[in-house]
Each structure stands twice: as C-alpha cells, then as structure tokens.
C-alpha cells in the first residue's frame, strides 16, 4: 500500500471515521490550513479557539489513528472583507507560532478578488516576512481563479522579502499551474468535485509539468468533498503505468520536502 500525505485537508470538519478510512488507505500525515467555517466568526476570540483546536485538540484526535497532524494559521479570504477583524487576528497569530505543529501562514489568498481581500493578503505577507514563515495560498474558484492567481502572484513578487520556494500556490488548474511554477513556487492540485480538478486531470498535469514542486490534496472540508481523493490520484497514476517512485515523490516526498523548510518541522517517516 502506498504511503501518502494529504497536504491540504480540513479535518475539523471531518469525522473520526474519515481518519480511520484515511489511515487504512495509507495516510501518514495531514496538514490542515485555517479556513472559513461556513459562517463568519463573531470576533477574534472565535479565531483563538479555532487556533487552539488546530494546534492542540485536532492533533490528539489524528494521533489515535496513527496520522500526524500539522496546521497553518491565518484569517481566510472570505472573512478578510472585515479588515478590522483581520488585523486583530493577524496580530494574535504569533501567540501560536511556537507551537511545534504549525507549518506557517495559510491558507491566505483571494476569494472574489476585492480590494479588502488584497489588503489583508498583503498584511499576511508582511507577517510572513517578519516571522520567516512558510506560506500556503488559496486561489479563488471558477471564473475568479485566473484573475485572482495573477493578482496573488503580483503581490508576492512585489514583496522582495518573500522567497518564492517557501510559498505553495494551491488549487492550481490547467490555466494557472505554469504561472505559479514559473514564478518559482510550489503548487498544489486539489481534487474536489465540480469546482476544481479530477484525478485524471491532475495526472495529465503531472505528465505535462513533471514531478518537481508539485503536490496533490483533497481539500476535504464541510462541503461535498472526498477525504480519499489522494488515493484516487494514486490509483489513476498506477493505472497509467507510472512508477512507484514517481507516485511516491508527488504524494509523499514532495510535501515533506516543502514542509522541511519550516524550522519547527521535525517529523520523519520512521516515527510513522
């Protein structure tokens, strides 16, 4: 059975049954970015509780299934329309940056590409530059994706303090993947029903762009999504006759290489 990492999944919205099924499918580690709960939180304390859940409770839950749990902190693009709240959350994040399971700042990004979202994105980048953290970037859905990805790449390029290979541009698709790779970033392909990518299209992109700086995730959350999407990708790659080595690089070695740039990340497969 192939070992894999799901580098983007919102386990707080999933059941323990999902942890078990993921463990059975070979999942060794998950990384969980902070995101929108489906409703706007009422204030900064709501985020503090969420960050406690991500940095403490969720790791305990995953450990009982033999899955390591790491996390990313931020205020997501949907709630970033509220600049005042966003600033309070960004100011509070450093309280959690010493936690050993925090990989960096994420998933920051754009949702419908507004001025406020861009302002809050820039302020997150400022925190990244000051704290030297890794970054996980959410790119918008559907019609907004191309425009939003270009805007995000402009903002990152505009901040000379940010090192491109310390940033992962997530949810890339056929029209945005080359933009992000050419800018020197890592990329994530999200296998998500309807709005994002299928295992087949993800395999097409790996065949076209190669296995360097590329990862695959489920972005499983509280919506219609599949926590076993990465194994679906593995299955598709095997079906096409790709080598175990190439597959393991994309679903296991690559996320580890990216995460190892975080000074706190000391997980090794031997612990698994």
């Amino acid at each position: 059975m192939a070992r894999y990492i799901d580098p983007h999944i919102h386990m707080v919205s999933r059941t323990t049954d999902d942890y078990k099924r993921m463990a059975l499918a070979g999942c060794a580690l998950v990384s969980e970015p902070a995101f929108w709960a489906g409703f706007d939180r009422s204030g900064v304390e709501g985020f503090r509780d969420y960050f406690r859940q991500l940095t403490d409770f969720e790791g305990k839950r995953s450990r009982s299934y033999g899955i390591a749990h790491y996390t990313w902190l931020c205020i997501n693009a949907k709630e970033a329309e509220n600049i005042e709240l966003s600033r309070e959350v960004i100011a509070m994040i450093p309280e959690f940056l010493e936690s050993s399971t925090v990989l960096g700042i994420g998933e920051i990004g754009l949702n419908i590409n507004t001025k406020n979202e861009s302002t809050v994105f820039l302020e997150h980048l400022d925190l990244v530059a000051k704290t030297d953290e890794l970054v996980l970037v959410h790119t918008p859905h559907l019609a907004d994706k191309y425009q939003g990805t270009r805007m995000i790449l402009d903002m990152i390029k505009g901040d000379q303090r940010i090192t491109p290979h310390r940033v992962c541009i997530d949810h890339v698709e056929e029209h945005t993947i080359a933009l992000a790779l050419d800018a020197g970033h890592w990329v994530g392909m999200t296998l998500y029903p309807i709005t994002k990518c299928t295992p087949q299209r993800a395999a097409d992109m790996v065949e076209k762009y190669g296995t360097d700086r590329i990862m695959v995730n489920s972005a499983g959350d509280w919506g219609h999504s599949d926590p076993l999407a990465v194994p679906e990708f593995i299955f598709e790659m095997k079906k096409r006759g790709h080598s175990e080595l190439d597959i393991q690089k994309v679903v296991f070695e690559n996320p580890l290489t990216f995460f190892r740039q975080c000074k706190r990340f000391d997980w090794s497969p031997i612990q698994a």
Binding site: K115, S118, L122, A143, G158, H175, E207, G241, S243
Partner: protein, 89 residues
C-alpha cells in the same frame, strides 16, 4: 514519466468521451426545449458555452487551458493602481 500510445488512450477514454458528448448534447437539448421567458435577456454564459464547444474542435493550444480561460474573468495588469494599493517593498 511513462509514454502512452494514442490507441492506449482511446482504449481507456473512448466510452467516457462518448458519454460526455452525449451528456452535453442532452443538456443543450434541455436548454433548447425549456420555456422562453417574456423578459428573456441575452445571457453571457451562452456565449461562453458556444466558445467552449468551439474550442474542443481546435488544437492550436491545449484545449483544457483554452476552456479554462474562456470561463475566466479577465486580468488587468493595472489592478494594484486601480485599487490604490501601492507596492510597499
């Protein structure tokens, strides 16, 4: 990466391609036979659909990328100035 032959791909994908073309045909029929509203205005999504279908028959650039761009908002390189967000670093 492993290379596949055209007949390998056709062998794997033919039935699915057939099914998806059929699905698309049925969806367009469904649209055509639906009732016209009294105040029906031209819907820009129809033009996107037409353009998308046309893109399937040309091969001057990767089709998946072409289709993605057809369904995408345009990017304005001056967006930062328009938002009044100056580059700070």
């Amino acid at each position: 990466m492993r290379e596949r032959s055209k007949s390998d791909v056709l062998q794997t994908d033919f039935l699915e391609i057939r099914q998806r073309i059929l699905d698309l045909a049925a969806m367009l029929d469904r649209y055509d036979t639906a009732l016209e509203e009294a105040d029906q205005k031209p819907d820009p999504r129809l033009a996107q659909i037409r353009e998308g279908i046309a893109a399937l028959s040309t091969s001057d650039r990767p089709r998946a990328e072409s289709v993605q761009r057809i369904f995408s908002l345009a990017y304005d390189p001056d967006w930062q100035e328009n938002f009044g967000l100056k580059r700070r670093f």
